[in-house]
Structures are given as C-alpha cells and as structure tokens.
Symmetry: C2
Subunit: 253 residues, 2 copies
C-alpha cells in the first residue's frame, strides 16, 4: 500500500483543533495541490477564500450554526463556484460569456469540489485534520453577504483545517457492495437494504444515538432530527433563490 492510499484510507473527520497556526509554506503547498485538481476545460471556475482572522471566524461560527471548531481551528477555507473572474476576462476580450445558467453553476460547483478534496487530502498528508461544513449550502445567502460575493459566485462548501486535538475512531462506512454497481444499476431489494445497513445499525454508537434522540431507529434520527424535510425544503428554496440572485438562472426561470 503506498503512502497516498494510506492517507486516503486513514481519513477521519476532526472536530477538535489545537490553536497552532498552519505555517504559510504548508498552507501554500496544500492550496497548490488544490489548484492542480482537474477542472472543466481548464477554466478554473472556482475561488478559495481563506479566513484566519479570529473575529471573522467568530462571525462565521455563528453562520455555520455555532459549530465550535470554526472558532477554534486556525484556518477556514470557503470554496466557491466562481464564473465572475472568467466572465470579466471574456468581456475584457470582446468575447460574450454564456455562463449565466444552471449548467454553468453545476460546472463551477464541480470544479470547486474537486479542488476542495485535493486540499483535504494534501492537508491530511501534512498531518493536519479537516472537516467539511455542510452548512455552507444552507447559509449560502448569508455567506454571500459576509464575503460580499459578486454575481457569478456561490459558496458550495467550507473546509475547516488545523492540527488535530483529538484522535477519534474512524467512523463506519457501508460495505463497498452497497454503493458500487457493476455494469448496470442494481436497484435494492428490501433484503439488500437490510444487509447493507446491518453493520451500521448494530453499532454501539447507533444505539446511543437512538436513545439520545428518543426515536425508534437510526433512520428516524436522520429523518426526524438531523436532516428533516421542513429544513430541506426551506434551504432548497433559499439556495435556488441564491442561484437566481447570483446570475445562474437567467434563462431558466
């Protein structure tokens, strides 16, 4: 097994960080790895915003639903789908950009996410810990205000990075055959579902979660407590409005 495979297989999300700063050299190297990620047509339609300032991290902590690590970790990277730079370049060169549409948002979001993951892998190879903040897409409207993002720019994810101050156990994953399909999509029978989720459902952590949340089973922890329909529908509307306001739905709505 080579070192890269080892790094990838050993990934753990870190939620407690030391106060230690990330050295500029290390941060630059990690970001260079991000910039090397594949990007659609080499357009590089993304931006990375670095937040180190403590006061701004405190503000961002509130926007990210008060997750403590946002205040504690030394670096926050907000990854944005970004056609603004590319559009400006086109206009400055007498070329008419046609990127004010949903496909272009998805293209730019894909660019940003591949960059994000390269950054995370590079960070872990340097002994840093990382955590993704899913709250980024929920709070895209507020983050746009916070960062003063122009038309063509939408935040899609945030990476918290710093030196780990915990060493949690690696979390479970579904068995590979549960998420991998050969040649065609093999839709799941109820027996398949039972089999795929059996290990996860029997974990002590699962029992704790069920008791804590006072529900019947793990699936209900998700549907009734963590990712509930009302919130999803609300944030879907917010996010679609964001796409419209940031100029990515000019032909669709």
């Amino acid at each position: 097994m080579n070192n890269t495979i080892e790094t990838l297989l050993n990934h753990k999300t870190i939620r407690k960080y030391k106060k230690d700063n990330i050295h500029d050299d290390v941060l630059s190297r990690i970001l260079e790895c991000g910039i090397r990620a594949s990007t659609t047509g080499n357009m590089q339609v993304y931006s990375v915003i670095i937040t180190k300032d403590q006061e701004r991290r405190n503000e961002l902590c509130k926007l990210h639903f008060g997750q403590q690590m946002v205040e504690e970790a030394p670096v926050l990277l907000t990854l944005c789908a970004d056609f603004n730079r590319f559009n400006k370049w086109c206009k400055q060169r007498n070329a008419k950009p046609g990127y004010d549409n949903f496909l272009s948002f998805i293209t730019a979001a894909i660019d940003a996410l591949l960059v994000a993951q390269n950054i995370c892998v590079a960070a872990e190879s340097e002994g840093l810990g990382i955590c993704y903040l899913g709250t980024t897409t929920y709070q895209a409207d507020k983050l746009i205000k916070f960062f003063n993002l122009p038309e063509g720019v939408v935040p899609v994810t945030t990476v918290v990075a710093g030196y780990p101050d915990e060493d949690p156990e690696q979390v479970d994953r579904l068995p590979a055959e549960g998420v991998i399909h050969h040649e065609k999509y093999n839709d799941y029978s109820s027996k398949d579902i039972d089999k795929i989720y059996r290990y996860k459902e029997k974990l002590p952590l699962t029992r704790e979660l069920i008791e804590e949340n006072k529900v019947e089973n793990l699936a209900q922890v998700f549907t009734e407590k963590r990712y509930i329909k009302k919130d999803n529908v609300h944030f879907s509307k917010v996010l679609l409005k964001v796409l419209k306001d940031q100029g990515f739905m000019n032909n669709e709505i």
Copy 2:
C-alpha cells in the same frame, strides 16, 4: 515534499490509454479510498457504477460525444448523486424521508464528487491515468436511460481510468493569487484580469488554439467554440428536467 503532495502536484489528465486491464485488487483499493471520502452526515448518498464491458463502453462513447478514450480505457466510473438507497432504507424503517428537493440533490452531488476525486488521487498514486468527462451533466437524461437509474439517482460525473499511453506536458494553471482570496473576496479590476491571464494568453498552445478556431483570442475559443451559450442554456434545461424527473424538485416547481 511527501508522496501524496507529489502525486497531487504531478496530476495530468490522460486521454490515451493502453488496453491493459486494471487488476481487481487495484480497482477495489481505489474504490475503498473513494468510500473513505467525507460524506454529509455519513449518509453516503452516492453510487459508483463500473463499466468494463467493451460493448457498453462503445455505447457510452457515443453518449459522451464520441470521446475515443471511453472506448479505449478499460474502466469507466459513473458517479451518481444517489438518495434512492437511503430513501428505501428510511421507508423500510418507518421513517419518512424528506429528500425530494434541490438541497438534497446538491448534498448528494457533493458526496459523489468528493468520492470521485479520492478515486482519482488513489488511481494516480497507483500509476493509473484518469480523465473526467464533463459530458456527464450534459447527457444526464441519456445516461439515466442507459443505466436504468431509478428516482433519486442522477449521474454527476464520469471518471475514465486506465494505464497511460501518452505522457503529455502538464497544462498551465492561473497563478495562485488569481484564485485565492484572503479574508474577503477581492473582486478583480481590469488590471488584475490582464495580469492573471497573461501567462496563459502567451502560451504557444493558446496561439495554436486561436489559429485553429479562427477567432481573435483565447476567451473567444471558449465563448464561441467550446462552451457556447446556446448549448449551455439547452443543457441547463435538460438537467433541471432531469432533477424534476428524478424526484429532486418536488417542492420547488
């Protein structure tokens, strides 16, 4: 510089592949690295479809706009945003899934893309080459038919993998300061734009592209030849219809 950083910094997209198969052990290891990627709430709302069958690769080649490598490389991985498995699990456990909305599609797409990039990094560390197919989002409707994808499943990207039969030069990237922002988003002045794109615009490859395409400059290669508005608008509509048809816009439209 550690080996992982080296792998990441040396990334080159490969478009010519040897016929050699990828050994099952290698492919499994790479996929396991994908499965270790961060995923929202550990829901793992993605699927990977492996295509090795030559006839099916020939068919997929047509769907991916005839890109030869799809026929030539031994393995094609279609990465899908997938709430189908999770929804089935919820329903089987007396839990009401609330994931028939746009936010849930984005959540699942993010999962799938982080998995994709882990797979690519792992593949390159094993001496394989990779190429992303942006045509996946353009042709999502046709790929859904091809793979017979149920509600809740949408393909978001495709990775071509195999042993390289070329050793191209590494392509250029914009300077880091062109895509990285400190603390706040520094919007680009026209001077900034000139500076950021100067190196790219002076490359011999750029001159070749301009002559080949009979346009005035590189920006016009993109806006008039490669990623033109008419296509983007068309594929935006197709993709939004796909999201609706696959049950990810049940509350928005």
